[in-house]
Symmetry: C7
Subunit: 94 residues, 7 copies
């Protein structure tokens, strides 16, 4: 089974906390938005959102920073995924 | 009797919890939006929403993920349906 | 006397609860929006709303589903009508 | 003295309650918007509102339905008027 | 000293209550917006507001109706003025 | 050291209350916006704000009226400045 | 490891308070937005935000003023960064 995100949505999977610490990244956030490192699993095809053409700039496999409470959690075949919009992705970690 | 959704609206029918578990999908959601798997029953013709042309990307019979409190419930001939906008559909489950 | 709705407005008349039950339709709604079956009595001419051309897609006599607290109630010659915008109509019941 | 409304504004005068009852119209409203029958006294020239051209569709002398708490009351030479935007007028009563 | 309003702003000066009563105008207002008669003292040059060209339709010396809590009060050489946007002016009193 | 405002922002410096009184200007304000006289210190280059071209209409050295709680205060080399958008400037005092 | 901001986002690093005092800059802020001096570490490529082309006007190494509670904090290899949008940068300190 597979999640195929619609439009400008992206399926991400959070990188485990252990892995995060190992790579030297510790994330804190101001206010109600708690950022985190996640890996991109699936990228939507892009398309028109609110009448505006959205081109997808991110790719499968990239590590990204997004807000903790952004998106919708989905559990599929025992794995937890989050569906976010591309615009909720703040930066790529290289 | 039949529900014919207007514009960019889609009539969906939630997939029973049992069936959901069988397929290995367990859904949880952050905040007030609880996602769920539903089947698409009817798709509106698309058209202009807020002055912007909306093309329908989903089809009858697809399994989709949407928010639990999204849309309006309707009971027709003993079956419960939900009318959502296409943009409330997050991903297709394949 | 007659109500002539302006622009994209539609005059509807709720279908009695008895009639609703007879046709096998029972409506429930999430949150504060309670849907209901209504018949279209008068349709406005359409026109520009917020600078965008609105074409009327519904017709006199159609049975439609709309939200319970949508629109403004008017009592004319002993009959109760509701004036809604076309975009408040979710689906046509056929 | 005379009120000359600007742009898409319309000066209306509420039709007395007695007159309303005589014509068989009784108005009730959902939520905070209480509709009422009013006569159009003056119509603005139309023009650009929020960058969009507004054409006036209503005329002096028409009976209209609008929301009770819509617009601004003005008392001029002993008469009470209300200044509303054309878009606050829901329907014409014929 | 003189106030030169920017863009679509207008400097008005409220007409005294005594004068208002003498001319037979008594103003009441619904909700939080209390209308009043004011004289236009200075008119801005118009221009682009939120990306939209605004043409000034009012002139120095006109008596206008606006909301009581609209705009910003300024006291200059002992006189009180109010700076409003042209769109806050509801009607001209002739 | 110098503050170079970006885009449509303007650096202003409030004119002291003493100076204000001497020039006969006393400012009061309705609601939460308290106006004040300030001198323009630096003007941004203008540019695109929310996709709309903004041309700067104000100049260094002008006395202007703006809202008290508008903008962000900055203290530089012992002087207090405020950074506002050009659209927060209501009028020029000449 | 490196943070590569997407679109119109900018990675900044706050200038230490000691350094701030030494340079004679003390920052205070009205309301809930507390400004601060930061150095620009990485600048996104710009691009389309809400359907509007954003050109990046700031550069790596510039000292800028932004709001304290603006953006998302990220800790990478022991250093704290903040990811903001270019439009959250008020002025450059030269």
């Amino acid at each position: 089974m597979k999640l195929k995100p619609l439009c400008d949505r992206v399926v991400i999977k959070m990188v485990e906390a252990e892995e995060t610490t190992a790579s030297g990244i510790i994330l804190t956030a101001s206010a109600q938005e708690k950022p985190q490192v996640a890996e991109i699993i699936e990228v939507g095809p892009g398309g028109v959102v609110d009448g505006k053409e959205i081109k997808m700039e991110v790719q499968k496999g990239q590590k990204v920073i997004t807000g903790k409470y952004t998106g919708t959690e989905v559990k599929l075949d025992g794995e937890k995924y989050i569906i976010v919009r591309q615009s909720d992705i703040l930066a790529i970690v290289e």
